[in-house]
C-alpha cells in the first residue's frame, strides 16, 4: 500500500476549529475582562406569528438594535449578549413551552419580551417553576396585581392600570363625563374595563356601556348600535389583525356626527394613520406610550432611539414608509434590556446560579432618569410589585399626524401596592 496524503474528517474539523478561533479572536479580545467570555443568552419570546405578529416584528427590530448598542459598548459584565428568539405564535400554551426550551435546551440566562397578556399569564407559572427570570414587556396589570410570581418582572413598560388612571382626569375635564367603552374581551381589555371605569367614577364621570369584542373578531359594525345615544366620549382600545377594520367601521357608523373619541393607540399600532377611511379621526385623541411622530420638543434620546431601530420621523420604517412601527410599545424592549444589563452588573451576574441575585438587584432599583437607556421618559421602579411607572402621553390627530397635547407626571400614574413579591421565597 502506498501512503496517501489525504485529508480526513478529523483534520478538517481541527482546521475549522482553529479557523473559528482565529476569526473569533477580536471578539475574545474585546470581551477579555470577563471571567468567562461566553455570551449571556437572553431568550426572546417573540410573537412572530398569530394575532400579535405586527408587534413581534417591531419588538424584534428594537431588541436587535438594543443588543447591538449594548454589545458595542462592551456587553454585560464584559460578556457579549446573544438573543435566542423563539416564536410563541401569540399562544399561551406555546409560550410556556418556549420558556421551557429557553431554560432546558438553549441554556438561556433569562427570558424576555412577551407582549400579549394571555401569553404572559400562561407562561409566568412556567418561569416560576423553571426559576427563570422572566422580563415581560406587556402593559398588563397582571404583574403588579400579584397574580404572578417572584420570577416575573415588568421593568420597561408601564401597566394598564396606571395608564388609564392617568388618562381619566384628562378625559373627564376635556372631552366629557359620559363614556362608552369598547375593548377586547381578554385580560388586557378587562384591565381597561375595570380600572378606567373606577378612575372615571372618581372624576365624577360614568361609564354608560361596556362593549366587549372577542380579539379574533373580523367585523365590528354589529357591535356599535349598543353605544347609547347620550354618549359624550367613546373610549376604544382594540388589538389583533383586524384593528384597521375596527376603526374604519367605527368612523362609518358615526358618519358626520360623532361624539368625542379617545382611543388607546393599540387600536392603530402598526397601522398608517393615512389609510383610507381614517379621515374621521381628525380631532380625536389617543393615549400614546411614546409619541409615534417626532414632536417639536423631541429629545436627543428619542432621536438616537429612532435612528438605532430604523424608524423615521413619522414612526415608520426608514426602508419602507408603509411599514408603520408599534412605537407606543416597542421602546419597552429597549428599556427592559438596559434594565437587565444594569441588574446583571449590579448583581455581578456570572451564570444561572446568580438568577436570584439578579432579581434582587432589579428589585432594589428605584428611579431611572431619562437617558439613552430610557428614551421614552423617566421611570420609577417599584421593587415590591415588580412594576415600573412612568409618564404617559396624550396626542391629538391634527392634519393626519399625532401631536402631543398632554404629558402626565409619574405621580399621576401611581396607585397603592397590591402585592409584595420580595416577601416571597425564590
Amino acid at each position: 500500500m502506498t501512503p496517501k496524503l489525504m485529508t480526513n474528517r478529523r483534520s478538517v474539523l481541527k482546521g475549522a476549529a482553529a479557523g473559528g478561533l482565529l476569526a473569533a479572536a477580536p471578539l475574545a479580545a474585546r470581551f477579555a475582562s470577563a471571567q468567562s467570555s461566553a455570551p449571556i443568552k437572553i431568550g426572546f419570546q417573540q410573537h412572530s406569528t398569530g394575532i400579535g405578529a405586527a408587534y413581534g416584528r417591531w419588538y424584534g427590530r428594537t431588541t436587535e438594535a438594543a443588543v447591538k448598542m449594548i454589545n458595542d459598548a462592551g456587553g454585560i459584565n464584559g460578556r457579549p449578549v446573544e438573543i435566542v428568539a423563539e416564536d410563541d405564535g401569540t399562544d399561551p400554551k406555546r409560550g410556556a413551552e418556549v420558556l421551557e426550551k429557553f431554560a432546558n435546551q438553549s441554556g438561556c440566562d433569562v427570558a424576555f419580551g412577551t407582549l400579549f397578556s394571555h401569553v404572559v399569564i400562561g407562561s409566568a407559572p412556567a418561569a416560576g417553576e423553571l426559576k427563570l427570570p422572566y422580563f415581560v414587556v406587556s402593559e398588563g396589570h397582571h404583574v403588579a396585581s400579584g397574580m404572578l410570581n417572584r420570577y416575573t418582572l415588568q421593568p420597561g413598560i408601564t401597566d394598564v392600570k396606571s395608564q388609564v388612571q392617568a388618562m381619566a382626569p384628562y378625559v373627564s375635564e376635556n372631552l366629557g363625563k359620559k363614556v362608552t367603552m369598547i375593548y377586547p374581551d381578554f385580560a388586557f381589555g378587562h384591565d381597561h374595563r375595570d380600572y378606567f371605569s373606577a378612575a372615571i367614577k372618581e372624576q365624577g364621570g360614568e361609564v354608560l356601556e361596556m362593549i366587549a369584542i372577542p380579539p379574533t373578531e373580523t367585523s365590528f359594525t354589529k357591535y356599535f348600535p349598543k353605544i347609547p345615544r347620550d354618549t359624550e366620549v367613546i373610549y376604544h382600545v382594540m388589538v389583533g389583525p383586524a384593528v384597521l377594520t375596527f376603526v374604519k367601521e367605527l368612523g362609518e357608523f358615526f358618519g358626520p356626527s360623532r361624539p368625542e373619541i379617545f382611543g388607546f393607540i393599540d387600536s392603530l399600532e402598526a397601522v398608517d394613520l393615512a389609510s383610507p377611511g381614517l379621515e374621521f379621526l381628525e380631532g380625536t385623541y389617543f393615549w400614546e406610550g411614546n409619541p409615534r411622530y417626532a414632536q417639536e420638543d423631541q429629545t436627543s434620546h428619542d432621536k438616537m432611539f429612532r435612528e438605532a431601530v430604523g424608524v423615521d420621523a413619522n414612526g415608520a420604517s426608514v426602508s419602507d414608509p408603509k411599514d408603520v412601527s408599534t412605537y407606543a410599545h416597542m421602546f419597552g424592549c429597549w428599556e427592559t434590556l438596559h434594565v437587565i444589563k444594569a441588574g446583571m452588573e449590579a448583581a455581578g451576574y456570572q451564570g444561572p446560579e446568580d438568577r436570584a441575585k439578579l432579581i434582587e438587584a432589579v428589585e432594589a432599583m428605584t428611579d431611572m432618569p431619562q437617558s439613552d437607556a430610557h428614551p421614552q421618559g423617566p421611570k420609577r421602579f417599584n421593587g415590591k410589585t415588580h412594576q415600573v411607572f412612568g409618564v404617559q402621553y396624550i396626542s391629538k390627530v391634527e392634519e393626519g399626524k399625532l401631536v402631543k397635547v398632554h404629558t402626565t407626571s409619574i405621580e399621576d400614574t401611581l396607585y397603592p401596592d397590591e402585592v409584595d413579591y420580595t416577601s416571597m421565597s425564590f
Binding site: 413581534g56 354589529k222 383586524a242 377594520t245 358618519g255
Partner: protein
Amino acid sequence: MDFGPHLLLAVLEGAVGAAVLALTALGLSLVFGVMRVVNVAHGEFFMLGAVIAWFVATSIGGHPTVGFVAALALAPLIAGLVAVLVDRLILKPVKYDPEATIVGTIGVLYILQQTALMTYGPEARPVEPPFSHRIALPWFEWGENGFAMFYPWGLSTNSYKLFVIGAAIVILLAFWLIMTRSKAGLIMRATQLDRETALAFGIPVSRVYSIVFGLGAGLAALAAVLIVPIQQAHYLMGHDPLLLSFIVVIIGGLGSIRGTVLAAVLIGMSDGIISVFLSPTLSKIIATLLVALVLVFRPQGLFGKKPA
C-alpha cells in the same frame, strides 16, 4: 338605538355575511356532491383568494378599481389552478378514498397556510375597495305629526357592502344557470348522480373531478376577493369560513345547491342578528346546536336526498 333601526342594521350586516358564506359553502358542497371528497382545506383556498387579491391589487397600482377587477379575475383562477394541481397530485393518487382524502386535505391545509405565512407574512393587510360611500339610511315612524321620515344616529351602510350582496346574488344565479342549463352542468350532475354510468357514457370523469375541485376552490377564492376590502387578508383567516361552511353544508344537505344557499342565508342572518342583539358567542353556540339537531333528526340535511 331603537329596536327597528337596530334590527335593520343587523339584517344588513347579516346579509353581507350570508352572501360571502353562500359562495364559500357552495364550493364545499359542490366538491362533496360531485366527488364525495370532504375538503378540509377549503378555508385555505378562501385565504389564498384574499392573499392573491392583495398581491394583485398592490402590484398593479393605479385606481383601486383596476386592481380590484384584476384580483376578481385572477385570484379565483390561480386558486382554482392550485386546486387542480392538488387534485392531480394528491386526491387522484389516493383514488378519492374518503379517509385518505380527509387526511390529504388536512395536509394541504397546512401546506397552504404555512406557504402563505412564509411568503405573505403574518400581517393583516387591506385591499382598497373600488368604491366606498357611507349611505345613511332613513327610518319611518308614526310620531305626533303623523308619518315621518328621519335618519337615526348610526343607521348606515356602505355602498361596497351592498355591492357584495348584489355580486353574490349574481354569481349564485350564474352558477345555478350553468349547473341546470349548460352542457358542463349536465356533465357535472351526471357525474354526481352515478359515476360509473357517466363513465360508461364517455364522460371523462377524472377531468370532471379536476375541474370541479378547481371550481369549488375558485368559488371560495371569489368570496374572499369580495370580502377582503371590508376585512383584511391574513394567513389565518381560513378557519371561520371553513367551520361555517361545514355547518351550512350539513344543515342544507351535502351536495344540494338549493339547501346550501338557504342554509347560508339562515346561518349568516342568524349570526348577524343574534350577535347584534345577544352575543357573538351565543350565535356560534346556536349554529352548532342546529347542526347537532339536524344530524340527529334529519341526517341527510334539510334538502339532501336520503341515500338509496
